[in-house]
């Protein structure tokens, strides 16, 4: 009888997977095992972030018993990595009971929170329960900027106090910084803050339309011209690069910044629907939090029925990168972080291109030294007859409205 097949650290491994994780990902993708599940247990929140896509009203969250049932079904389905998020998860009075049940069922539990309700007691309890990692949103080291984004005075101080408490308890903490026009100037401060706190950070450029389709948050996105100096600084060994040792899980510009990249995904567009999915507070199952393809509701069906049987999951699962009519031919594909969910939300087509991905891909390519990089979609648009271009522009304008 031989022992353990191998050991490897996951945290420093992101975004690239080591062989053991790669093998696990490959097996779960091939067998359609939902290895990783992101579960929002509330959309209620005690902050009102300017870029947030959620409706914070409670439209009938799963009860504790319903959540327990879902957790049991996920455990039976092979889910190991479970992320609880929201909304603000600490607004659920039964949060610790949910976490306790999750740990009893053997899940690896990570949390996403603004942490402003975490005090010493909560931090201790999270450690006792065996929660592995807590990700806290920090927008700036400048309270005026951070608080203006969350719209809660004193929120930065409370979040930072909580991070220190969590660290003192020995929990793994990670800072997530969604970057937008409001906090673009804070980028380096957040990097420095993460180093000072001794935690990894992730910079995320993903700003999405609201759940009801309202595209107003998109106006908060930093433009390519605004982002380019940051990219340049990072790749030229500036201060940002010097801090890399303190931040093992950093990422810039990724729509799926917390996920593990793996060769196991081969011709797949991402992990959504293959070995990961998202569950809303109301029990709706989606391939991913960023992919508005409702596959079924867990009040009406079991998780396995939705995961294995829904036509929506099968449709998403059938998509291959090589089938993407435009993007598969793109010369700068290696610089692109196209997200199929965002392609649907922003371009209306799960398999199509969308402006933000092309813009960022060209930016990354230019930063890497590619001369005049142009995405396949932009090239196609440029080569169309003028009349077609005019129609496209008119159509794009009406979509914006």
């Amino acid at each position: 009888m031989s022992g353990t097949a191998g050991t490897m650290p996951t945290a420093p491994a992101m975004p690239g997977a080591t062989p053991l994780m790669d093998r696990l990902i490959r097996r779960t993708v091939e067998r359609h095992v939902p290895l990783s599940v992101h579960m929002d247990i509330t959309y209620r929140c005690n902050e009102r972030c300017v870029h947030c896509y959620l409706d914070h009203e409670d439209h009938g969250e799963l009860t504790k018993d319903e959540v327990f049932r879902v957790l049991g079904e996920l455990a039976e389905s092979g889910t190991l990595l479970l992320t609880f998020s929201g909304g603000e998860i600490f607004l659920r009075k039964d949060l610790f009971e949910i976490l306790e049940r999750s740990r009893e069922l053997g899940f690896d539990v990570s949390l996403k929170t603004n942490a402003i309700l975490i005090h010493a007691m909560q931090a201790r309890k999270l450690v006792e329960l065996g929660v592995r990692r807590v990700q806290v949103s920090i927008y700036s080291a400048d309270a005026a900027i951070h608080d203006s984004i969350t719209k809660v005075r004193g929120s930065l101080e409370r979040s930072l106090t909580a991070i220190r408490l969590l660290k003192a308890q020995g929990l793994q903490v990670k800072i997530a910084c969604p970057l937008m026009k409001q906090n673009l100037s804070s980028y380096q401060e957040v990097v420095d803050l993460a180093a000072e706190l001794g935690v990894p950070y992730v910079i995320d450029l993903t700003i999405t339309p609201k759940m009801d389709g309202d595209r107003e948050p998109l106006s908060l996105r930093a433009t390519g011209a605004e982002l380019f100096p940051i990219l340049q600084e990072r790749s030229c060994g500036g201060r940002a690069s010097a801090e890399k040792a303190a931040s093992s899980a950093e990422s810039l510009g990724s729509a799926v910044s917390s996920s593990v990249e793996s060769t196991a995904y081969d011709d797949l567009t991402c992990s959504a629907g293959h070995n990961s999915c998202y569950i809303s507070p109301y029990g709706d199952v989606f391939p991913c939090v960023q992919m508005p393809v409702a596959a079924g509701n867990l009040r009406q069906k079991s998780f396995q029925e939705v995961w294995r049987g829904s036509s929506e999951m099968k449709r998403v699962r059938a998509i291959r990168e090589s089938q993407l009519r435009v993007c598969s031919k793109c010369e700068i594909r290696e610089f692109c972080e196209r997200c199929p969910g965002l392609a649907m939300m922003e371009g209306g087509d799960l398999m199509g291109p969308y402006e933000r991905a092309c813009e960022l891909a060209e930016l990354h390519a230019r930063n890497a030294g590619v001369a005049n990089p142009v995405s396949a979609w932009h090239r196609e648009q440029a080569n169309r007859p003028a009349a077609d271009s005019r129609r496209e522009t008119a159509s794009a304008r009406s979509a914006e409205l």
């Binding site: 009888m1 031989s2 022992g3 353990t4 097949a5 191998g6 050991t7 490897m8 650290p9 996951t10 945290a11 053991l20 994780m21 093998r23 696990l24 097996r27 779960t28 067998r31 095992v33 290895l35 455990a75 092979g78 889910t79 190991l80 990595l81 740990r103 053997g106 899940f107 690896d108 539990v109 065996g130 929660v131 592995r132 990692r133 020995g170 793994q172």
Partner: protein, 101 residues
């Protein structure tokens, strides 16, 4: 009864701080302390599932020997090696002892 040299049964349990799941027939374990990932092969997994803090090692060894139709002493040697490996990684703990902080 298997003994630890002091006449006590050896009983081990999985470290309760771990996350683990049987995926596609193999045991995958994640330690929250250092985020390390471990994988057990099928036979090691058989022992892992039995390490519930209630059954002593000798009982598990006899079951495995019967299941695999292998000599008890051979299985015991393998299990001892596995226990050393798993306890050194703090994945498995002696039921009589506190979990290492």
């Amino acid at each position: 009864m298997s003994a630890n040299g002091h006449g006590h049964a050896r009983v081990f349990c999985r470290n309760p701080k771990l996350a683990w799941r049987e995926i596609d027939g193999e045991i995958v374990i994640i330690s929250p302390e250092d985020s390390s990932v471990h994988e057990l092969n099928e036979t090691a997994g058989m022992f892992w599932r039995s390490a519930d803090g209630k059954r002593d090692v000798d009982e598990i060894v006899r079951e495995l020997a019967s299941l695999y139709e292998a000599p008890v002493e051979l299985v015991r040697a393998d299990v001892d090696e596995l226990i050393l490996d798993l306890t050194s990684k703090n994945l498995l703990v002696d039921s009589l002892m506190q979990v290492r902080p």
